[in-house]
């Protein structure tokens, strides 16, 4: 059987109530895996659950910004073969208007939640030997944009964190990697478009030789990183940008 399949494996997907997280859950099931999905919004989480075609799946609503909720989630988890951390937010803000509150808004979701969840899941020994942890970074971690101090900073932080996870758990053959996409068509894309204008977004996407990404494009990269096909890959970041960073357009 191909090393790309996910049969007999179970994964936790955070941020599964929409966008990339929802698609990752769907794609894992299509590749033969099982998922535990979590997110803030129970109704939309159940919508995702109903879209899963196969597998033994379950949904656990949790507010991951609350450490006790993370604890409740972790204790309800079965043994896992990996985690895909998709919970995240984007909120462009120029540097001179930043404050403690603004920093917390972005860093709590994009960094703190992933750190606390990884800490609790590993301490509770919920990750099987050979498990794979995937974090959603962004091309902005290395190629930031104006207004992106917190978003780019939090993604750079999660890339560094992922490398430490790789170093601290390799003795269990646990791997950790990031996916760094450019613009992907998700509700977050619509939010970014509303914060600017459609013309600005269209002008940006015109610089992508292969156009904007889809949630499926990101989910396929996640499937690869979760599967045994990537068993020699750890501590790295896969960039998905449709050729944008080539800078040729």
């Amino acid at each position: 059987m191909t090393a790309f399949h996910l049969h007999n494996k179970t994964f936790l997907v955070t941020g599964a109530s929409s966008g990339i997280g929802r698609q990752v859950a769907i794609s894992i099931c299509e590749m033969g895996g099982n998922v535990v999905i979590t997110g803030r919004n129970e109704e939309r989480l159940n919508e995702t659950l109903s879209m899963l075609k196969s597998g033994e799946n379950k949904s656990i609503q949790a507010e991951l910004l609350d450490e006790q909720e993370v604890q409740r989630l972790v204790s309800a988890l079965p043994l896992l073969d990996g985690i895909v951390n998709c919970a995240g937010t984007v909120s462009p803000y120029p540097i001179k208007f930043l404050s403690d509150k603004k920093i917390d808004e972005v860093f709590n979701i994009n960094y703190k939640v992933q750190v606390v969840l990884t800490a609790q899941a590993t301490r509770a020994k919920k990750l099987n030997k050979g498990a794979s942890v995937v974090f959603l970074s962004s091309i902005s971690a290395l190629h930031p944009h104006r207004g992106g101090a917190l978003y780019a900073g939090s993604k750079a932080a999660i890339e560094a964190f992922s490398k430490v996870v790789a170093l601290e758990f390799f003795h269990l053959q646990i791997r950790s990697n990031c996916i760094a996409p450019a613009m992907v068509k998700t509700p977050m894309y619509d939010k970014a478009e509303a914060q600017g204008t459609k013309e600005q977004m269209d002008a940006h996407i015109s610089k992508y030789p292969l156009g904007a990404g889809t949630p499926e494009d990101v989910a396929n990269a996640a499937i690869f990183l979760l599967s045994d096909a990537s068993k020699w890959i750890t501590g790295t970041t896969i960039t998905l940008d449709g050729g944008f960073l080539l800078g040729g357009l």
Binding site: K96, F97, R146, E193, A194, Q195
Partner: protein
């Protein structure tokens, strides 16, 4: 809120503007060097000072400073 304060707040935050040059009837797109950075600054300024959320689409609807002032005032 009054438009004089509103204008001086914008002039204070957008360094490229000469104080006193912005008028209620000034159209944003007529300003030299108007860029997406200035859009971000306006959105953050209005959020910080008035606790009002303005989107890029809102800004597109507002041609002049006065148009924007009226939108913010209606949401305060």
């Amino acid at each position: 809120m009054d438009i004089t304060t509103f204008i001086s707040q914008i002039e204070n935050e957008i360094e490229e503007l000469t104080p006193g040059s912005l008028k209620p009837e000034t159209e944003f797109t007529s300003l030299k060097e108007w860029s997406s950075m200035h859009v971000l600054i306006l959105i953050a300024l209005i959020d910080t000072e008035y606790n009002v959320t303005i989107t890029g689409a809102d800004l597109q609807q507002c041609k002049s400073v006065n148009d924007l002032f009226n939108v913010v005032k209606s949401r305060v």
